[in-house]
């Protein structure tokens, strides 16, 4: 299945992916309207280290520990994409604790969780982080995994 992969060799740490993610999931059509003077809650986050940058988002694991640990059945696998049903989520954060990649995070209101759903639940069409990456560091491809 097609997944989002990050080549840290080409990641510049520009953080554009975070803003593109936040915009894609804002429901707005004009970025300044969506993001101006807002704290953003992106589902992809750039980890920065000593000369190494790496954007991290949900790996969409084949055997996802977050789904197993969900106490309400809010997390499910839909055609390989791990999705969250926020109507069922009670905000217990168990998934956040168990995710080995740190890719599940509280939503902006703090009551439920959010995670990357490969832009299947917004109007972007393809992952916004991939589309907006200036150096092809983030790619969306099927590596047969």
């Amino acid at each position: 299945m097609k997944r989002v992969y990050v080549n840290e060799e080409w990641c510049l740490g520009c953080h554009l992916c975070e803003y593109n993610c936040a915009f894609a999931n804002s429901g707005e059509t004009y970025m300044p309207k969506a993001l101006k003077d807002q704290k953003i809650y992106p589902r992809i986050q750039v980890e920065e280290g000593d000369g190494v940058n790496f954007a991290v988002s949900c790996r969409h694991c084949e055997d996802p520990i977050c789904v197993k640990s969900c106490i309400t059945g809010a997390l499910s696998i839909d055609n390989g994409v791990i999705k969250v049903n926020t109507d069922k989520c009670v905000g217990c954060y168990t998934c956040i604790l168990v995710c080995p990649y740190g890719c599940v995070m509280p939503a902006s209101d703090g009551h439920v969780i959010q995670k990357c759903e490969l832009c299947t639940q917004n109007s972007c069409g393809e992952p916004a982080c991939v589309k907006g990456c200036p150096n092809q560091a983030i790619v969306y491809e099927d590596r047969g995994e």
Partner: protein, 501 residues
């Protein structure tokens, strides 16, 4: 504190309605123009540091930025321009020579733009390159003067070594050191895919790039950096660099700060030491000396590789080329006064050399008059900006062209002309690892391939319009050119008629 006489050349204009303070501009600017004020939650800029490279403008997700020419001005003066005054301030501040990069930007005539191309109408049919064969392949090297046959009548094949190009465009010499590893990889891979050549410049060939050897021209310059037997044999041809269009008559200087790690290793010099190329080759003071080096290199490579001699276009270029054509060289490369550089003294770059169009026309004529045009192929560079320039160059007698600046622009260069600072925000003219990685060669090589493919289509369209179906038939075909706004002398040197004639 001393008085700061400088006025910022550019102004950073930020649209506060659009800026979302994402800080992408701040993170992307190696010149540290942008900064974030957490208390005001807004971006600030220090335009004194801005070189107008447009990295921030290109990456701003909300298009909130633009860079404009600062209209703060000294008292207007037609003689003492703002530039003339600030250059004096700068020299008075530092006592040092002014340095510049890329090609001469000044307002000299551009002869390409004063020549127009012919097309067929009624009496001679034009050719549609999409439906009919159209040949853009060229071979560079010495051509035999006559056919020789064996006693049984079969042909003797004794063609000297040739370079085969699918399209008459090569990437000109830019050294590893002046430009980054990723820029070199992009050029090498693009040349391979396009079946043409890129040129190492004088910095040697990184061991990772020996695999692209069949599409590499290896250069031997006055510093002889990185030159050894395997290097000479790795390339498809060897270029002796006698001169460079941006800085004829002077050598080169890669500062120790750029001569780090693999750059120093590839040049075979100690890390951190300045790489100084002398102005002359210390073993070449005559055509006879040049001939010795040409034949030394041929000897070292078993006479299997053509030897290119590259010179800058200067006043007596035709006589110099005539000498080179008799030196045993297979190809002459001529670099015009607008050719680029990673660093050159400003006064040299802006005032030395002659236009490539005039140099090419006079060299081609001189070699034909002397009956030695077939001894050598002619390659020209020094601001070939588009496919029409290529067509005009070929019609003036070139066999192929070198593109350097155009190739870098394809890789993202915005001609900010600040290469000498080593802080290229586009990852091209820098060795800083965090900046080098900004040029992903997977992206870069594809952009170069696209550029040359586009030019090839355009060249075929223009040739088809003239009713010509091969580069061979266009070569030196001056009847396909007409001058506009040129005086008698210029037309005479170019060897073309005026429009309307």
């Amino acid at each position: 504190m001393a008085i700061n006489y400088m006025v910022p050349e550019y102004e950073v204009v930020r649209d506060p309605q659009r800026c979302i303070a994402c800080r992408v501009c701040e993170r992307q600017c190696a010149n540290e123009v942008h900064s974030y004020d957490p208390e005001l939650n807004c971006m600030r800029s220090d335009e004194t540091k801005c070189v107008n490279c447009h990295r921030c403008v290109s990456l701003c997700p909300t298009h909130a930025l633009k860079i404009v020419k600062n209209n703060d001005t000294f008292k207007l003066n037609s003689n003492w321009s703002m530039q003339a005054i600030t250059e004096i301030y700068r020299e008075a501040d530092t006592g040092g020579m002014l340095l510049s990069s890329m090609g001469n930007p000044n307002d000299y005539p551009i002869y390409w733009d004063k020549m127009l191309i012919n097309a067929s109408q009624v009496t001679n049919p034009s050719i549609d390159p999409l439906r009919e064969p159209m040949e853009t392949r060229v071979y560079l090297g010495k051509k035999p003067d006559h056919v020789e046959r064996n006693s049984d009548g079969s042909l003797q094949i004794n063609t000297p070594p040739q370079l085969e190009l699918n399209v008459p465009i090569m990437f000109s010499a830019m050294s590893y050191g002046a430009i980054s590893y990723n820029a070199h990889e992009s050029l090498a891979r693009a040349a391979t895919e396009l079946n043409t050549y890129y040129n190492t410049g004088e910095g040697g060939l990184h061991k990772d790039f020996y695999q692209y050897g069949p599409h590499t021209i290896v250069q031997v310059a006055s510093g002889r950096f990185g030159v050894h037997k395997d290097y000479l044999n790795a390339g498809a041809a060897i270029e002796i660099k006698m001169g460079q269009g941006a800085k004829p008559g002077i050598g080169g200087h890669l500062p120790g700060t750029k001569s780090v790690g693999d750059v120093a290793r590839t040049r075979m010099i100690p890390e951190g030491s300045d790489a100084i190329s002398p102005a002359p080759h210390h073993d070449i003071y005559s055509i006879e000396d040049l001939r010795q080096l040409v034949y030394s290199l041929k000897e070292a490579t078993a006479y299997k590789k053509p030897i290119i001699v590259k010179i800058a276009a200067v006043h007596n270029v035709a006589a110099i080329a005539s000498g080179i054509a008799r030196s045993g060289a297979d190809i002459i490369a001529i670099d015009g006064f607008r050719g680029g550089t990673g660093a050159a003294p400003t006064r040299i770059r802006d005032n030395v050399g002659i236009p490539i169009e005039l140099a090419l026309a006079s060299v081609d004529r001189r070699l034909r008059e002397e009956g030695i045009r077939n001894n050598v192929s002619i390659v020209v560079g020094g601001s070939i900006r588009n496919s029409a320039d290529v067509v005009k160059a070929i019609a003036l007698g070139a066999d192929a062209v070198y593109i350097g600046t155009a190739a870098l622009i394809a890789l993202g260069c915005h001609l900010c002309r600040s290469c000498q600072t080593g802080k290229c925000n586009w990852g091209i003219a820098t060795q800083r690892p965090d900046l080098v990685k900004r040029l992903n060669p997977n992206v870069g090589y594809q952009r170069l391939v696209n550029l040359v493919n586009a030019w090839q289509h355009e060249i075929m369209e223009m040739m088809g319009g003239m009713g010509i179906n091969s580069i061979e038939a266009l070569k030196g075909n001056r009847l396909m050119l007409r001058g506009v706004g040129l005086n008698e002398k210029e037309l005479e040197i170019l060897g073309i008629k005026h429009a309307g004639e």
